[in-house]
C-alpha cells in the first residue's frame, strides 16, 4: 500500500516533467533553420506548392497552437508522420526502438558481468594487481570513445581475422527477418524456430554488444568498488569481521549492501545509453531509434525527434519505477 502511494506520487511528479521535455524539444526543433515543406518537395517546387503544403501541415499557424495540436494528437496515440520515411512515426519507432533496446540491454548486461566481479575483487584485495588493473580500467574505459572502439573491433574481427560478419545491420542481408513479435530478433527468431536467423542475429550482435559492454563496465566497476570500500569500512561490516565470519560471508553481505547504488547507476546508464548508443548504431548500420532521431534533427524532420524524446523519456520513467521497486526488495529499511 505504502509502495503504491509512493509510485503514484512519483507518477504525479513525472507528468509535468514529461510535458516540459516535449515542450522544450518542440520549440528547440522549430528553431532549427530549414523548412520541411521545401525539403519535402525538393528544389524544383513552385512557391505556390510550397505554400499549399505549409498550409496543409499547419506550419502557418502560431507555434503555441501547433504545440497544442501536437500534444492533442500525442494523447490520442498519434506521433505524426516522418517526411523522410513517409510513414507514421509510431510504426517507425515500434520497429527501431526494440533494436536499440536489445543492443543496450545486452551491452549493459555484459558491462555488469565485467564490472561487478572486477569491482568486488578489487575492493576485497586492497593492495594487489587486481586493484591496479581495476583502477586503470575504470579510467581508460571512460576515456575511450565508443565509436572508435567499435571501429577497432571491426578492423580486428572483420577486416583482419574475418571472424565477425560485416557490420551492416542486425541480420545477414540474405536472410529474411522473422515475424516481429517482441521486436528482439533473438527472441523472435527463436519463436519462429528459425535457427539460422537466430545465429545470424546473435553474431551481428557480438561486436556492438562488446563495444557497449567494455565502455560501460568502467563506471559500473568504479561504483561497485567505491561503494564496497565504504561498506567494508562501516561499523556493521567491521563487527562482522571481528566476529570471525568467513571472508566469503563478509563479501556476500558487503555486495548486498552495495547493490542499491550500483542499481541506481545502471538505471542512469540505461537511459543515457538509449540515446548515447547512436554512434555505435551508426558504425554498425544498426538502424536503431537513436540513429532515426539524429537523422531527423539533421533533416528538419520534427516528428521522429519528438517521438524519440517521448519514447526515451517514457522508458527512463519505467526504469526508474523498476529501480524503486528493487529498492523496496533490497533495502529492508525502506519497507519500514
Amino acid at each position: 500500500m505504502q509502495m503504491l502511494s509512493y509510485v503514484g506520487r512519483r507518477l504525479l511528479f513525472v507528468i509535468p516533467q514529461l510535458l516540459g521535455i516535449v515542450f522544450i524539444s518542440f520549440f528547440l526543433i522549430k528553431l532549427i533553420p530549414g523548412d520541411p515543406a521545401v525539403l519535402m518537395l525538393g528544389p524544383n517546387a513552385t512557391q505556390a506548392a510550397v505554400d499549399r503544403l505549409r498550409d496543409d501541415l499547419g506550419l502557418t499557424k502560431p507555434l503555441v497552437e501547433q504545440f497544442a495540436i501536437y500534444i492533442g494528437k500525442v494523447l490520442q496515440g498519434d506521433l505524426g508522420t516522418s517526411w523522410q520515411t513517409t510513414r507514421p512515426v509510431l510504426e517507425d519507432l515500434a520497429e527501431r526502438f526494440p533494436a536499440t533496446l536489445e543492443l543496450v540491454t545486452l551491452g549493459l548486461g555484459l558491462a555488469l558481468a565485467i564490472g561487478i566481479p572486477l569491482g568486488v575483487a578489487a575492493s576485497m584485495q586492497r593492495r594487489g594487481p587486481v586493484r591496479k588493473v581495476a583502477d586503470y580500467y575504470g579510467l581508460l574505459a571512460g576515456a575511450i570513445p565508443d565509436f572508435w572502439l567499435a571501429l577497432v573491433l571491426i578492423f580486428v574481427f572483420y577486416s583482419l581475422l574475418g571472424i565477425a560478419p560485416a557490420p551492416l545491420g542486425r541480420l545477414d542481408i540474405t536472410l529474411i527477418a522473422p515475424d516481429a513479435v517482441t521486436g528482439s530478433l533473438l527472441v523472435d527468431s527463436l519463436l519462429a524456430g528459425d535457427i539460422e536467423a537466430f545465429r545470424s542475429a546473435a553474431s551481428q550482435l557480438v561486436l556492438p554488444v562488446l563495444t557497449l559492454g567494455l565502455v560501460n563496465a568502467g563506471p559500473i566497476l568504479k561504483m561497485t568498488q567505491s561503494t564496497m570500500d565504504r561498506t567494508l569500512a562501516s561499523d556493521f561490516m567491521r563487527y562482522a569481521e571481528m566476529s570471525g565470519l568467513p571472508r566469503r560471508v563478509i563479501r556476500r553481505q558487503a555486495i548486498r549492501a552495495s547493490l542499491p547504488s550500483v542499481i541506481t547507476l545502471v538505471s542512469v546508464l540505461f537511459s543515457v545509453t538509449i540515446g548515447g548508443a547512436v554512434l555505435v548504431e551508426i558504425v554498425f548500420g544498426w538502424g536503431g531509434a537513436g540513429q532515426y532521431a539524429v537523422q531527423g534533427v539533421l533533416n528538419a524532420d520534427i516528428n521522429p525527434v519528438l517521438g524519440f524524446v517521448i519514447f526515451s523519456a517514457l522508458l527512463s520513467l519505467a526504469i526508474y519505477l523498476v529501480v524503486d521497486l528493487l529498492y523496496f526488495a533490497l533495502d529492508p529499511r525502506i519497507r519500514g
Binding site: L31, L139, G142, P145, V152, F155
Partner: protein, 318 residues
C-alpha cells in the same frame, strides 16, 4: 648584518618569509605526492605534452594540416608519413598534432562557461533555499528546469542545439556548456546546503555581513572543491562529446583537423583494412581524455581531507 637579522626573531619580519616557505613546501608536497602516486604524474605529463605539442604544432609538424596530396592517398605508416595518410592524401600525424587546437579549445571553453554559469547559480539556489518563500519557490523552479534538461538524451539534445545555432565552433561550445550546466548546479547546491548551516556562516550572518559577502567569502570558497575536481573530468567528457558530434557530421567540418571527424573520415577505410586513418586520432583522443581523468582524480584526492591525510602520511614516510 643579515646573519644577525636572521638570528634575531622579529615579530614583524616573520609573515613574509613564512609565506615564501609555505609556497616552497606546497610545491615539495606536490612533488612528493606525484612520486607517491605516479599515475597522477602521468596525467599531468600527458596533458602538458598535448598542450605543448599543440602550441608548437606549426614548428614540429612535418606537413600542412589541410593540404591534400592526391598522389599520396591512404599510404600506410612509413618514415615519410609516420601515421600514414588519409583518403584525401593528408598527413595524419600532422592533423593529429593540430587537432587539439580545435578539440581542447572547444572542450575547455564549453566546460568553463558551464561552470561559470552553473556554480554561482547552484550556490545561490542552495543558499536561498531556506530563506523565505520567494527564495524557496525560485530554487525549486531552477531545480525542476535542471531536471527537465537532464532528462534529455544528451547527444540528441546537443545535436539539436548545434542545428539551431548553426554549425560553428561557438555553437558547439554553447551546446557543451548547455548540457553541462546542471552538473555544476547540482554539485554546488548540495555542497552549499550543508555549508549553509555551519557555525561560521551563522557567525558571519550575526556579524551583519550581507548575503553577497557571506556567499563570496565564506560559502563558495568552501564549497568549490568537488566542482574543481569535476572540471578536469568534464573537459575530458567534452572532448569526447565534441568528437562524437563531429563523427555524425554535426560538429567540426572537414578539412579542419579534429579527432572525431578524422575518425569518421577513416570509417570506410577500416572496413577494407586501412586502419591508420581512424586508429591514430582515436588513440590521441583517448590518451588526452585519460590524462584529464587522472588530473581530476588527483584533484579529488587532494580535496578530500581523508584521502589527503593518507597521502601526506605516505608521502612523508616514503
Amino acid at each position: 648584518m643579515s646573519v644577525e637579522a636572521a638570528g634575531v626573531p622579529s615579530p614583524g619580519g616573520r609573515p613574509l618569509p613564512g609565506q615564501e616557505w609555505r609556497g616552497a613546501a606546497s610545491l615539495r608536497f606536490f612533488v612528493a605526492v606525484l612520486r607517491n602516486r605516479p599515475a597522477f604524474a602521468l596525467g599531468y605529463g600527458i596533458v602538458a605534452a598535448v598542450v605543448v605539442l599543440t602550441i608548437l604544432a606549426p614548428l614540429i609538424s612535418p606537413y600542412d594540416p589541410i593540404r591534400a596530396d592526391p598522389e599520396a592517398y591512404l599510404l600506410p605508416p612509413s618514415l615519410a608519413h609516420p601515421f600514414g595518410t588519409d583518403n584525401t592524401g593528408m598527413d595524419i600525424l600532422t592533423r593529429v598534432i593540430y587537432a587539439p587546437r580545435i578539440d581542447l579549445v572547444i572542450a575547455i571553453a564549453g566546460t568553463l562557461v558551464s561552470a561559470l554559469i552553473g556554480a554561482p547559480l547552484g550556490a545561490a539556489v542552495g543558499y536561498y533555499e531556506g530563506r523565505g518563500p520567494i527564495g524557496r519557490s525560485l530554487s525549486v523552479a531552477v531545480m525542476r528546469i535542471a531536471d527537465v534538461l537532464q532528462a534529455f538524451p544528451v547527444f540528441v539534445f546537443a545535436i539539436c542545439l548545434v542545428a539551431v545555432f548553426g554549425q560553428s565552433i561557438s555553437s558547439i561550445v554553447a551546446a557543451i556548456a548547455f548540457v553541462n550546466v546542471p552538473i555544476y548546479l547540482r554539485l554546488m547546491r548540495s555542497q552549499v546546503l550543508s555549508i549553509r548551516n555551519m557555525r561560521y556562516v551563522e557567525a558571519a550572518y550575526i556579524a551583519g555581513a550581507s548575503d553577497a559577502a557571506i556567499l563570496a567569502r565564506h560559502v563558495i570558497p568552501n564549497a568549490l572543491a568537488p566542482a574543481l575536481a569535476q572540471l578536469s573530468i568534464n573537459i575530458g567528457w567534452s572532448v569526447l562529446l565534441t568528437a562524437g558530434l563531429s563523427f555524425v557530421g554535426a560538429g567540426v567540418v572537414a578539412p579542419t583537423p579534429e579527432w572525431g571527424s578524422m575518425i569518421a573520415s577513416g570509417f570506410q577505410s577500416v572496413m577494407t583494412g586501412q586502419w591508420w586513418p581512424s586508429v591514430f586520432p582515436g588513440i590521441a583522443l583517448g590518451l588526452t581524455v585519460f590524462g584529464f581523468g587522472l588530473i581530476g582524480a588527483s584533484v579529488e584526492a587532494l580535496a578530500d581531507p581523508v584521502q589527503r591525510r593518507a597521502l601526506v602520511a605516505r608521502s612523508r614516510g616514503g
